[in-house]
Subunit: 282 residues, 2 copies
């Protein structure tokens, strides 16, 4: 096996760390791969940590001991979170989104992979310490956000279906009542997609009164799963809500169908703590 120069090592380690967020990589893996001393590897990691940290893209966490190693934790700094929230507010308040009945067209936003990835990165940062083991969402529009978040947390995803499908095998189904329109519905999750007792993070695109999220929480109870966080891209201003603790990136304050105006303000995301202190956010 060839010996690597430091420059090549830095590129390869950066690639390797970014590829598997939250996955612990033993230092011996790097030492063997590059035929280098552990002290050199540690120096390299110091350089990478410095660049990641000051660039606002995350932290390297070093775990010492026999089962130790290093892992990359995607974290954002406050300016990056503010920038995302700002962009979302601006894009969401485009009156062209207003559909009959005051619904909002969101598919373009959720089809923008760069935007979706950035939302996932911010959620992963906020829920970095949630100790969630699975990200759960409901079809259809929540799926991209759930995968982007799970990707940055190194977790699997389980998708709740609105109607049970033969391809899901045996499922657990609960009936739901939409909090805003009082419509009946059902939510199903394949028995196999969740082990009993796991900790889950719920991610969805839009929350009105919270009937769907409430339904998901109830469904999680059927699996004896513990909900360790709830994140939504946008919620609405409502007095009564079926869910208490959740993180929203934005809040739709008003949709005036006649005047064709939408008012969107930052959600409660920026009231959360735990931002890292980077210096730039390219």
């Amino acid at each position: 096996m060839k010996k690597w120069k430091r420059s090549a090592r830095l590129v390869d380690m950066t690639r390797r760390l970014l590829r598997d967020p939250h996955r612990l990589i033993p230092l011996t893996h790097f030492a063997e791969r590059y035929q280098a001393a552990k002290s050199s590897i540690s120096e390299d990691l110091g350089i990478i940590q410095e660049v990641f940290h000051s660039g606002g893209s995350g932290e390297l966490e070093t775990v010492s001991g026999a089962a130790g190693g290093v892992r990359f934790l995607p974290r954002v700094d406050r300016p990056a979170a503010e920038e995302l929230v700002d962009t979302l507010c601006r894009q969401l308040s485009d009156p062209g989104r207003i559909l009959p009945g005051g619904y909002l067209y969101l598919s373009d936003l959720l089809g923008n992979t760069a935007m979706v990835r950035e939302i996932g990165r911010v959620f992963a940062s906020v829920f970095c310490d949630s100790r969630a083991e699975v990200v759960v969402t409901v079809e259809t529009k929540g799926i991209p956000l759930a995968y982007a978040t799970a990707d940055h947390l190194g977790l699997p995803v389980a998708i709740v279906r609105r109607d049970s499908r033969i391809t899901e095998g045996s499922v657990v189904t609960i009936n739901t009542v939409s909090g805003s329109s009082k419509r009946l519905g059902s939510l199903s999750l394949s028995r196999r997609s969740l082990n009993e007792g796991v900790r889950v993070l719920i991610i969805d695109d839009f929350m009105k009164a919270g009937g769907t999220v409430r339904g998901m929480i109830d469904l999680m109870n059927e699996f004896h799963a513990q909900v360790s966080g709830v994140g939504v891209m946008t919620d609405t201003l409502l007095e009564e809500r079926l869910v208490e603790n959740y993180v929203s990136l934005t809040t739709v304050a008003e949709v005036d169908v006649k005047k064709r105006e939408i008012q969107v303000v930052p959600g409660n995301l920026l009231h959360q703590g735990g931002w890292i202190h980077g210096q730039s956010t390219d």
Copy 2:
């Protein structure tokens, strides 16, 4: 603005290039960001290209001229593609997947974010030169694969719905007949999610006789869109198929419900050309 050392520059450039596949970044961006001469930036890019290439993770493409720059193209080498196909074949042939009616349970595989990302990387490599402008899929299980592919190609995603939703605004709907079970269905796509005349790449998880993919191709015709590629995670052995040109990673050759046996073989992926020649595939 501080001056960057080469080591820090290499880490930051690697991060930046990996983050936005297929996006052209002007060399002046790097030169200004790092306060470095273009010749130094070019040297750095040479080191990064060498590591990416020999590690089988892709290529840097340099475009010269005033509108020039550099972009990262995720590409896999043949061993990496073979390894993915091999893993998929092994996992898919687990008899525990057999559901009533000979259907296969796939949600665990599609919930595995690392696996999904790798499938997306391989599709992005095969369709690297397809010049597709949008990745199109159908809800629900194709969505993660479509996003993973689009992520690696730097493209947006449009999701075809099986029933039209109010939140999609005005839609184009076509009726479909499943090629295998002759069931009727419909496929809808929001008018706004696709510009007329664009080139699209269709990605889905499972293709039997191809009725759904055929339906998507017909739907694309309604948008005057051009289908520049079709990729599925797995297909089945059938004499008659409604779709001719497509890439499959695996083929389900036989499902014996009584004996509880599944036989899965490599699809036509490895007959495609265009693999890069890396030396290792960590």
